[in-house]
């Protein structure tokens, strides 16, 4: 996904002489081509994330279009107040790009995991929050961000998960992608859980249980055009803490929609950190994002388990 991001950014930088890339001493084997092609517009701010955001804000005040890239916790949490005051309060076109959404960084430990970023980013007025689920979503949204006039957060994942799907319309900010259509039952994923969601739907299909799949890369502003009146059962899936995440955003909407009678269940990380080493797949199982358990629960909810 980060390769898809960088390749697109390079294309955009060729067209926009004001496009800058600032990195926080992160991006080995990804940033080199940008650095070579646009030497002056590439800045390694060093290990100084707070000042990196301020620097980006100053460049943006002077008319520059700035992308800031680092690992999620360092580019969202270490410098949260700078994002709030310098970018959101002043409404500046600085795009924060975090790599390693969710448990991507596996064995490196929870200091490098990102399970609170969606919550804190969506709490910021003016902030647009994007979590693409595939490389093609990443390419499209990077292109969108390159001419977006306000602050935005792009949550990338290390995997390039290329779910095979065809697009009927271009992806823009707010677009959701219906991957498996279904009238009444939907599993809705954001970010890097698209592969898991796809896998779950496939497994259920083998048992003749039909479940629709929608990828929603725009978490804020929330666009619910995919939520038709026929939907009766809705599941959300995200690699993020249950508190403040995508599921909670959908849940808040449903709770305030008196005309909707929808059965709703959110699958997310249940308020815990990982204290063990392990690949992200292993860690997902440790934090209640277990594939088998989710399938079991969905079947239960659909009252189909013992059919």
């Amino acid at each position: 996904m980060r390769t898809a991001f960088m390749q697109t950014l390079i294309k955009m930088a060729e067209q926009d002489p004001n496009l800058y890339l600032i990195v926080g001493d992160v991006g080995f084997s990804v940033i080199e081509e940008f650095q070579q092609k646009f030497h002056q517009r590439y800045i390694n701010a060093g290990v100084a994330e707070q000042s990196m955001i301020g620097l980006a804000a100053g460049l943006a005040i002077a008319g520059k279009n700035v992308f800031v890239y680092s690992i999620v916790p360092f580019v969202t949490m270490r410098c949260f107040e700078q994002i709030r005051n310098d970018l959101c309060y002043q409404y500046l076109p600085v795009k924060i790009v975090g790599n390693g959404g969710g448990l991507d960084y596996g064995s490196l430990g929870a200091t490098h995991h990102a399970i609170e970023d969606i919550a804190i980013m969506r709490s910021l007025p003016h902030m647009t929050v994007l979590a693409p689920g595939s490389s093609q979503e990443t390419r499209a949204l990077t292109q969108e961000l390159s001419h977006y006039k306000g602050p935005a957060y792009l949550r990338l994942s290390r995997s390039e998960n290329n779910i095979p799907y065809r697009l009927n319309a271009p992806i823009t900010i707010g677009t959701s992608i219906i991957i498996i259509p279904h009238d009444t039952c939907l599993l809705v994923t954001t970010g890097n859980t698209l592969d898991l969601g796809y896998d779950i739907c496939k497994s259920l299909k083998e048992e003749s249980i039909a479940l629709g799949l929608v990828s929603v890369p725009t978490i804020k502003p929330l666009n619910l055009s995919w939520l038709s009146n026929n939907v009766a059962t809705l599941f959300t899936l995200e690699e993020h803490n249950t508190h403040g995440g995508f599921g909670e955003a959908i849940g808040a909407y449903l709770a305030q929609s008196f005309d909707k009678k929808i059965f709703f269940k959110s699958f997310a990380i249940e308020d815990k950190y990982c204290h063990e080493a392990g690949k992200s797949e292993f860690l997902r199982n440790k934090v209640s994002l277990n594939r088998t358990s989710i399938i079991h629960q969905i079947k239960n909810y659909l009252s189909l388990e013992k059919k």
């Binding site: 002056q40 517009r41 800045i43 701010a45 060093g46 100084a48 707070q50 000042s51 990196m52 955001i53 301020g54 620097l55 980006a56 804000a57 100053g58 460049l59 943006a60 005040i61 002077a62 008319g63 520059k64 107040e81 700078q82 005051n85 310098d86 309060y89 002043q90």
Partner: protein, 281 residues
């Protein structure tokens, strides 16, 4: 930048009188605003009044601010809590009206207790949380260099503010980028929220900035001659300039000067009248 007062530079006495007059007007505006708004930070505003007076009346071409030209010099008030001094100064160069000033701190006003970026009014950045203005100033100065613009960026930071890590992160960036178009003015009034800055930062700031590679000067921040000399000194050696301006909190009003509580307090009627008398033009 060419300033309207520059031809008078040779007439030292006249210039001094001119700047004294302007700073008295600014100090009067400040105490009017803070008293009417029942706000705070009066001491912090009065300590940078002479700095702002010299900057805006000798160095900044305010016409370029009015036209919002990218070639304008930028002044960033990193110690945003002294906002009343900035607004008062902007009023003396015609960017704000006296009527604007009367809205300070009131419901619906654009003149908040901490500045909110407003190009039309000449407020270049939103500040308030300490340690944010300098990194933004580094970005502005870097963009100017890349675009080969000749403008200068000035940033005013507090001495207490220099305890923020971002100050030193930004100094590393600014020296690395060789930002000779950036000047930091440290308002060294030696009084912060609760304590003497000297007690919290043993050894002061001069050697620290110097050690980081800045062209560092220590001056009397209420002496116009000192300020002009320091601000006019070219940024040699391709580095940013740091002017440590020794100032006094509450400067200009004898009974509040260098007293901690005037970070917070406002005048009662009697104190207000006494202060007005001391500041009478």
């Amino acid at each position: 930048m060419v300033a309207e007062t520059q031809p008078q530079l040779t007439l030292k006495h006249d210039l001094h009188q001119y700047l004294s007059l302007k700073s008295s007007i600014i100090r009067n505006y400040i105490i009017d605003m803070v008293t009417a708004g029942n706000s705070s930070h009066m001491g912090c505003a009065l300590s940078i009044t002479d700095i702002l007076t010299v900057l805006y009346h000798c160095y900044i071409d305010t016409d370029l601010i009015k036209t919002q030209s990218l070639d304008r010099d930028y002044v960033i008030l990193s110690k945003g809590h002294a906002a009343s001094a900035l607004y008062a100064t902007l009023a003396t160069v015609g960017l704000l009206s006296q009527e604007n000033l009367t809205t300070y701190y009131q419901n619906g006003s654009l003149l908040l207790g901490h500045p909110v970026r407003n190009n039309a009014l000449g407020v270049e950045a939103s500040t308030g949380s300490l340690g944010h203005g300098l990194p933004m100033a580094v970005g502005l100065a870097l963009a100017a260099k890349h675009d080969q613009r000749k403008n200068h960026t000035y940033v005013i930071v507090g001495d207490g503010e220099c305890q923020e890590g971002t100050i030193w992160e930004s100094i590393i960036l600014a020296t690395r980028f060789q930002l000779d178009n950036l000047t930091i003015i440290v308002d060294y009034n030696n009084l912060q929220g609760l304590d003497r800055t000297d007690d919290l930062v043993p050894g002061g700031f001069f050697n620290k900035f110097k050690g980081f590679g800045c062209l560092t000067l220590a001056i009397d921040g209420h002496n116009y001659g000192d300020l002009i000399k320091a601000l006019s000194l070219p940024n040699v050696d391709k580095t940013l300039k740091v002017i440590i301006a020794k100032t006094s909190k509450g400067r200009g009003i004898s009974f509040i000067q260098d007293k901690l509580e005037w970070h917070y307090k406002t005048f009662n009627a009697e104190q207000f009248n006494a202060a007005k008398k001391e500041l009478s033009l």
